[in-house]
């Protein structure tokens, strides 16, 4: 499937989560989406990522909207607590549905395929470059950071020292990385200009991800779902 297709499913999902006002319906939608995440590849990583965001958020919403500190610290009586917690639960379910839907979409767009799709897309070359090149550059920077850290360790910098000392090592670690990368900026720009970057709106890509009939069908389904949900909202 084309990496962009998955993202087309998110707008109707967003609209649907806003449209649903019943906690049971939202919970059912969340279960369906989590099952879809579980059925896909890398499901452990994706479910863990979802849980790491959503479980602390549940605790935060429970603390803030349940107003338990009012009762525990100040002895106040919070009469409307059930209503407040119900509203917080609705919000949590909506965010949970969107995050689970995003995990389904992201499964279809791994960074390497997304980079190729961006370079091969009809986006203006500068926009495609700005969105895709940091994905490639960050891999190089991580490697450079590991090299800089190793070199600075050999010179006595201790990344495991007490925190004021660790804060001072920031310059020692970030400095060479930033200077090194900024020195490359001019060379990269010259290399791009030498290859007629932005002189023509279309680029040729050797292995552009294919946009198949299945992608077209899914896009049409996403558009139909969006119109349907928006229509039902307006009708009401």
């Amino acid at each position: 499937m084309h990496p962009f297709t998955g993202f087309a499913l998110l707008p109707p999902l967003l609209l649907l989560t806003l449209r649903l006002t019943d906690a049971r319906a939202l919970a059912a939608l969340l279960v369906v989406l989590l099952v879809l995440v579980w059925m896909g590849g890398e499901h452990r990583v994706r479910l863990r990522r979802w849980a790491l965001l959503m479980l602390p958020l549940a605790a935060g919403l429970w603390l803030v909207h349940g107003r338990y500190l009012d009762s525990l610290v100040f002895g106040a009586d919070v009469a409307d607590r059930p209503q407040r917690l119900y509203a917080a639960a609705l919000l949590w379910l909506r965010v949970g549905c969107l995050l689970a839907g995003a995990q389904v979409a992201l499964r279809l767009a791994p960074p390497a395929r997304l980079t190729r799709a961006l370079f091969a897309s009809r986006l203006p070359p500068s926009v495609a470059y700005l969105l895709a090149s940091p994905l490639l550059l960050s891999v190089q920077l991580r490697r450079r950071l590991a090299e800089v850290t190793e070199a600075q360790r050999a010179r006595g910098v201790d990344p495991a020292a007490p925190w004021p000392q660790r804060a001072r090592t920031l310059i020692a670690l970030a400095g060479p990385l930033v200077v090194w990368t900024l020195s490359d900026v001019g060379e990269r720009a010259n290399a791009l200009d030498a290859r007629a970057f932005r002189s023509v709106p279309c680029r040729t890509t050797l292995d552009a991800p294919a946009f198949t009939a299945r992608d077209r069908a899914l896009l049409a389904a996403a558009l139909a779902a969006f119109v349907l949900v928006a229509g039902s909202w307006l009708w009401r």
């Binding site: 993202f7 803030v64 995003a102 995990q103 992201l106 470059y129 940091p134 660790r166 990368t181």
Partner: protein, 191 residues
């Protein structure tokens, strides 16, 4: 028609986005209680101006949103305003001395509060799942409205981060060799 950004500025913005993505990792590697995910935006603000920094900030969060979760994408306007205000401060000479850098960091934090508070309060109900939620709940309990509690908490959480980010970016840009900094004609004065 001339493009909005030169190729050199585009490659600088790309490097700035990559800095934002990697230096945040450096902060967690050193176990520092700050995000450091806007240093690249500050560097671009100092070397290429407010508009390039605004786009750098927004693009960083959109890419994070695609790579990890849409929560980062929801905060893209916040990242954009960090770049815009830092760039405007840099243009106005706000990075020429230490006191000015601290004042610029304070202005950036205020702008972050103005943009991030409604997003956090209305989109996420004032909670983020971090320890800061306790402060929101406490301020709420002592009589502040939810939006006021969120604003105060966002200010407290972001002040240290933005001061350290601004200082680090300023130190790094000041330390650039003159031969290298001369290749960025739109760079703001840093001394």
């Amino acid at each position: 028609m001339n493009p909005l950004f030169s190729t050199r500025t585009l490659t600088l913005m790309s490097a700035g986005i990559a800095f934002n993505m990697v230096l945040g990792q450096l902060a967690s590697m050193l176990k520092l209680p700050i995000f450091l995910d806007a240093i690249g935006t500050f560097v671009v603000a100092l070397l290429a101006g407010p508009l390039a920094a605004l786009v750098t900030g927004v693009a960083t969060n959109l890419i994070w949103g695609v790579l990890t979760s849409p929560v980062a994408a929801a905060f893209a306007p916040v990242a954009g305003v960090i770049g815009l205000v830092a760039g405007l401060c840099a243009r106005a000479g706000g990075f020429r001395s230490l006191p000015r850098v601290l004042l610029s960091a304070l202005l950036v934090t205020v702008a972050v509060v103005v943009v991030a508070t409604p997003i956090r309060a209305y989109l996420f109900g004032g909670a983020t799942g971090s320890g800061a939620d306790f402060f929101v709940a406490y301020l709420n309990a002592v009589g502040s409205k939810l939006i006021e509690s969120v604003a105060l908490t966002v200010f407290g959480v972001n002040l240290a981060d933005k001061v350290v980010s601004a200082l680090l970016a300023w130190t790094l840009v000041r330390a650039l060799p003159a031969r290298l900094s001369a290749t960025f004609p739109a760079a703001a004065a840093v001394r």
